[in-house]
């Protein structure tokens, strides 16, 4: 079967070049994953510093307020990030990827968001969306959701300076009362194979979570009494937004890490699949070639026999 021989060969070659591409993409994703992981480590040092200080200040602040019979005025900006308001509108920040080829990464995040919305009875009327990444933005727009802010073209290893815009925007819209709660939907990186999709309440910040999560090492470091310059209220009003910003940035980094891991996984399974197909095709090709040779030999021997007779 000479025709099928050529067809199998063509298919074999195209699968080979696909495998070459997916292997290269897998390596690129793995390299990006390593980069972003390195970056996350330095960010975590920063985040734990901010949180530890804030936790200890909030603790002494609350104590001070109690001494003053709680009638002293707290800076508006602090209370607005802590206080539970009556929930009229909810903001959802959805972090997805710009590109495809990341396996089920995007659909998982979107599914987690929809589940969260169903759970809290959210619909197009009482929800506003902030989206990072083209996939999420297109999905929610198509469904007639109110997307107030979208950010696309985020780099593979986002720096704080780069995403400061959206981070501040998210916190500012909350402070301005555009929404009374901020959920962040993103994919939390566990390890290279596993990611968990999360929809978490970021704002208002709960003072409890602040204390619970503070690692003991950093807390014990800052037990001593401090002189404060200029004063406690001012310090907290500086630190709370800084902490809120760092939380949102942390989620973005986490999501990016997960995206690269997901992309590396998708490309690895694509390469594995290609390898399987190649070995099947190779077998087919060899068989077809052998069949062709056998036919030729049969014809030649047939011809010779005819001549001898």
């Amino acid at each position: 079967m000479p025709a099928s021989l050529a067809a199998v060969k063509r298919k074999l070659e195209s699968t080979r070049s696909t495998r070459q591409i997916t292997t290269a993409m897998q390596m690129v994703s793995t390299a990006k994953l390593n980069q972003v992981q390195h970056h996350t480590k330095t960010y975590q040092a920063y985040e734990s510093q901010v949180r530890a200080i804030l936790a200890s200040l909030v603790k002494s602040h609350i104590a001070q307020l109690r001494e003053q019979d709680e009638d002293s005025k707290i800076d508006e900006r602090i209370s607005s990030l802590f206080a539970q308001r009556e929930v009229k509108k909810v903001g959802v920040l959805v972090i997805t990827s710009d590109r495809g080829l990341v396996g089920s990464y995007n659909s998982n995040v979107i599914k987690a968001t929809m589940d969260m919305m169903a759970k809290h009875h959210l619909n197009a009327d009482n929800t506003v969306f902030l989206t990072i990444g083209k996939n999420g933005s297109e999905f929610f727009k198509k469904r007639g959701m109110n997307v107030v802010y979208e950010y696309t073209g985020i780099s593979d290893v986002p720096s704080y300076t780069e995403v400061r815009g959206i981070v501040r925007k998210a916190v500012k819209l909350y402070r301005d009362g555009v929404y009374d709660q901020l959920y962040v939907s993103y994919s939390h990186y566990v390890n290279r194979i596993i990611s968990h999709e999360k929809s978490e309440l970021f704002l208002p910040i709960s003072p409890n979570s602040l204390e619970e999560e503070t690692s003991e090492k950093v807390t014990s470091e800052i037990e001593s009494e401090y002189e404060l310059e200029p004063d406690l209220t001012k310090m907290i009003s500086v630190l709370v937004p800084q902490y809120a910003n760092s939380l949102v940035y942390g989620a973005i980094l986490d999501a990016k890490t997960s995206e690269h891991a997901s992309s590396a996984n998708a490309m690895r399974s694509a390469s594995d699949n290609a390898s399987d197909i190649i070995s099947t095709l190779q077998l087919q090709y060899n068989r077809a070639r052998q069949a062709a040779i056998t036919t030729e030999i049969t014809e030649i021997t047939g011809g010779m026999t005819a001549e001898d007779n």
Binding site: Y46, Q49, L57, S159, Y160, I222, P230, V238
Partner: protein
């Protein structure tokens, strides 16, 4: 000053640690003016303004290290100073042309905000301008 007591200084930002070394004196800018720390200062936390941070070194021949810092705070404790800021750049690392662009962009924003009376935009423009000017000042490019 040859045997001046030293202490550790770490400058942390979300994008990594900018500086981690010893120093004999740290001067930071707060909203109320400059604030200096030397070894054995009492424990203190201070909010920082957008401004210059200067570090003097034990080796009096060595140049002072200058850093452009955007807000954040400094914590001094047990002879260790930790500066935690949104961003911080050593003088050598400042991208002067970018800061120049940011400056002119911020000036345009402010002009526009004044035209349309938008207080939000105005304050944002002013923060951007302060940041750009600070970078230029620290890098010695502001006439």
């Amino acid at each position: 000053m040859a045997d001046a007591a030293t202490f550790n200084v770490t400058i942390v930002t979300p994008d990594g640690t900018v500086f981690d070394d010893t120093s004999t004196m740290l001067v930071v800018t707060t909203d109320d003016g400059e604030l200096g720390f030397m070894a054995n200062h009492l424990p203190m936390i201070a909010a920082l303004a957008i401004g210059r941070l200067t570090l003097k070194h034990a080796d009096s021949q060595a140049d002072d290290t200058e850093v452009a810092v955007n807000g954040g705070y400094v914590r001094f404790d047990g002879n260790k100073a930790t500066v935690v800021a949104d961003s911080a750049e050593l003088r050598e690392q400042i991208d002067v042309s970018r800061a120049q662009n940011a400056k002119s962009r911020a000036e345009k924003t402010i002009a526009h905000a004044k035209e349309v009376h938008d207080p939000d935009e105005l304050s944002r423009g002013q923060v951007h301008l302060a940041r750009a000017l600070n970078r230029l000042r620290v890098s010695g490019n502001l006439k």
